[in-house]
């Protein structure tokens, strides 16, 4: 395994090299940033990462991103209206999420953070499922095995170890699936992430660590987490790392595909750093004006992942007005479904507190459940209803 080629962002499967890509790298000043679509929507070639998609596939990616953004926007609105307690917007990260998510196979397994709404979309998770925890009616609650999409994990970095362990299990089973573990630039500082790298490397587990470097961990810029690009961390653990333009859905798709293939083919883990930007607030409770400049945000707005793909589609004549209108209609329908779905999402009853604490039950929970039921019943006896402030 060549550490050097890794540090330069080399792909697992090398093809014929030209000096062009290297020169482009030097020019961009961002070493090893894989890009297949410029911010202006021009298609560029990369020696290590080729991709050849049909018009339909390209339109599919566009549709994914637009619908995801619309869903996200709707969620922000629902939060403002008090229907959700909180929302963590993915605005700006659509390409990183759709590109990587669409690189997975159904039998692959995905471990998200709390912001992977776009990835969830590619895994066919019902968007309404994602809203339960933000509404406060549950703490996740979907069945991870239904779409091989694990629950959202809030404690930063934890899920990378679950992913490594899951991948150890995949290898043990002799399956050729891969595991995709998301984490943020902030998370890269957590010991758990380093331990996940170690376990994955030592057991040669088929896991791709996918870092969405959106350049902010709440108010802290990436310099507070690392003084070198995060993808470089992989080499020191003995596996390849690569940095991809996270606002370029084609590049993300190509790089993630190659990484998953690397894992699948028994070559062990790989680290992908998608260099992107969190366009919105950290969550709806955050106020980014306190710590970052409007100029920075504007600069990144000009690299918008959706506009970029649209420019390409239009330039190449791959989509017509009907297509865009269709997506608008679909978006409206999605937003409506989400809106109505959330509003009709029932609150759990108080006795739900005691549900699912244990799979095999516990006499303690039984006792407390019974006591609480009795307590609640006492209000009914009194003729009063169990109100606020128990």
């Amino acid at each position: 395994m060549s550490v050097k080629s890794t540090a330069d962002g080399g792909a697992p499967a090398k093809r014929g090299r030209t000096t062009r890509a290297a020169a482009a790298k030097r020019r961009s000043g961002e070493p090893g940033l894989v890009q297949l679509l410029t911010p202006q929507g021009e298609r560029v070639e990369h020696d290590d990462y080729a991709i050849d998609l049909t018009a339909e596939e390209l339109r599919g990616l566009y549709r994914d991103m637009v619908l995801t953004r619309r869903f996200d926007g709707e969620a922000i609105t629902l939060q403002r209206q008090g229907e959700l307690g909180l929302w963590a917007s993915l605005l700006g990260q659509e390409a990183a999420q759709i590109g990587s998510g669409r690189a997975t196979r159904p039998d692959d397994y995905v471990f998200p953070t709390y912001r992977e709404h776009g990835v969830a979309w590619t895994r066919d998770v019902d968007p309404l499922n994602l809203l339960g925890m933000f509404r406060g009616v549950n703490n996740g609650g979907w069945d991870p095995n239904e779409n091989n999409f694990h629950l959202y994990t809030i404690v930063i970095g934890s899920q990378t170890l679950h992913a490594a362990g899951y991948a150890m299990g995949v290898a043990k089973d002799g399956a050729d699936s891969a595991v995709l573990a998301y984490f943020g630039d902030g998370a890269s500082s957590q010991g758990d992430v380093a331990e996940a790298f170690t376990f994955a490397a030592v057991y040669n587990a088929p896991v791709v660590f996918f870092c969405q470097n959106n350049q902010w961990a709440i108010s802290e810029p990436t310099e507070k987490q690392s003084r070198v690009p995060i993808y470089q961390r992989a080499a020191g653990y003995g596996f390849p790392g690569v940095r991809v333009d996270g606002n370029d859905v084609l590049a993300v798709l190509a790089v993630t595909r190659a990484a998953l293939e690397h894992a699948r083919s028994g070559q062990g883990p790989m680290l992908v750093e998608a260099f992107t930007y969190r366009m919105g607030a950290h969550t709806t409770t955050d106020d980014p004006t306190r710590y970052r400049s409007e100029e920075e945000r504007e600069e990144w707005a000009s690299k918008d992942p959706i506009a970029r793909l649209r420019a390409y589609l239009d330039r190449e004549g791959l989509a017509d007005e009907d297509f865009y209108t269709g997506i608008d209609t679909e978006s409206d329908a999605l937003a409506k479904r989400v809106r109505e779905g959330v509003r009709n999402m029932p609150n759990p009853g108080p006795m739900a507190i005691f549900d699912n604490v244990y799979a095999d039950g516990s006499s303690l929970v039984d006792e407390e459940r019974a006591q609480f039921a009795e307590y609640l019943a006492s209000f009914e006896e009194d003729g009063a209803t169990a109100g606020q402030g128990h």
Partner: protein
């Protein structure tokens, strides 16, 4: 000088004073710098004291506490902010095996004046890991001191005292009380960091609480008073050590005790208080010490927290049960 301020502001002023008084005091944590912390407790400090004193750290709690220990060894007095209760656990090893034990390991030759501030408890409608009450997980560990203010004045003074203390102090801040206002006399001589106070005199039943639950107990006492019942409320303030003398004196008077906290009852702090007070007041107690607290279940999603958190009704129900003996 007495001013009216919220708990959050009192903490902010207290930090500012400590930073002013002692150049060795540092503030460290995630987003404590420019942002001023997610609860704005460190608001403005970065601007006034700079990044050398107000340190935005990498997102790694073990690292934060571990390096705070190193800084303390070098003579600094770090005040660490853990962003939310549920995120202290990555640092638990450093806290339990290093911070708590190093003074003893050195036979007293080194001291670790590190304060770990943890906004804790529920009631703010947050998502998972943002509403927990892990205080007994720290109070059980020798070498740590554990305190929790319930009002702005205590917030101000207890934080001063915690920073001045040469021992590690886990400082639990009742996050849902951050915006509650009260009088703060910044010149009064405060009572001891580990003293309990009788927040409300009464004769029929003693309520013991700390942090966010003191307010609920005071409200319960007010409601009970309307029904002709006189409840005494003891604000414990410190969970390690506990001022059992003050609780004992109260219980010897009222002969009945109800302990109230948000944390799960099972192995919660109420258990220690019940056990010790029962031993101290065996012949005085007319009823067993009753406990009102969280259930043995993960903190529930926000839409259930009103049901989950002990409120007025549950406290008064326990008072009724106590009086029924």
């Amino acid at each position: 000088m007495t001013q009216t301020m919220a708990v959050a502001k009192a903490l902010n002023e207290s930090l500012r004073k400590a930073l002013d008084n002692d150049p060795k005091v540092l503030v460290m944590g995630e987003d404590v710098g420019r942002l001023g912390g997610v609860f704005r407790i460190t608001d403005g400090l970065y601007k006034d004291f700079g990044e050398g004193r107000i340190i935005d750290t990498p997102l790694a709690e073990s690292g934060i506490v571990g390096t705070a220990i190193g800084l303390a060894l070098r003579g600094y007095r770090p005040v660490v902010e853990i962003q939310f209760d549920g995120f202290v656990f990555p640092a638990y090893d450093q806290i339990v095996t290093q911070l708590a034990k190093m003074h003893a390991r050195a036979l007293g030759k080194i001291k670790l004046p590190v304060v770990i501030r943890i906004p804790y408890g529920g009631g703010i409608g947050a998502v998972e890991h943002h509403s927990e009450s892990p205080e007994t997980l720290f109070a059980h560990v020798a070498g740590l001191k554990v305190v929790s203010p319930s009002n702005p004045s205590d917030a101000y003074w207890m934080l001063q005292q915690a920073i001045e203390c040469d021992d590690p102090v886990i400082f639990f801040e009742p996050k849902r009380r951050y915006w509650d206002k009260g009088e703060v006399n910044t010149e009064a001589v405060p009572i001891g960091l580990h003293s309990a106070v009788v927040a409300q005199q009464g004769t029929d039943v003693t309520l013991v609480a700390y942090g966010p639950m003191v307010k609920v107990c005071l409200e319960a006492a007010a409601a009970a008073a309307n029904e002709g019942r006189s409840l005494e409320v003891v604000d414990l303030r410190s969970l390690s050590p506990i001022d059992f003398d003050t609780v004992q004196a109260s219980v010897e008077k009222t002969r009945r005790l109800v302990v109230v906290h948000e944390a799960p009852v099972f192995y919660g702090s109420g258990a220690e208080i019940a056990a010790r007070i029962t031993e101290r007041c065996f012949y005085h107690l007319e009823a067993p010490v009753l406990r009102v607290g969280g259930f043995h279940a993960p903190y529930p999603p926000a839409r259930l927290e009103d049901e989950y958190l002990p409120g007025l009704d549950r406290v008064l129900d326990a008072v009724d049960r106590s009086l029924a003996y």
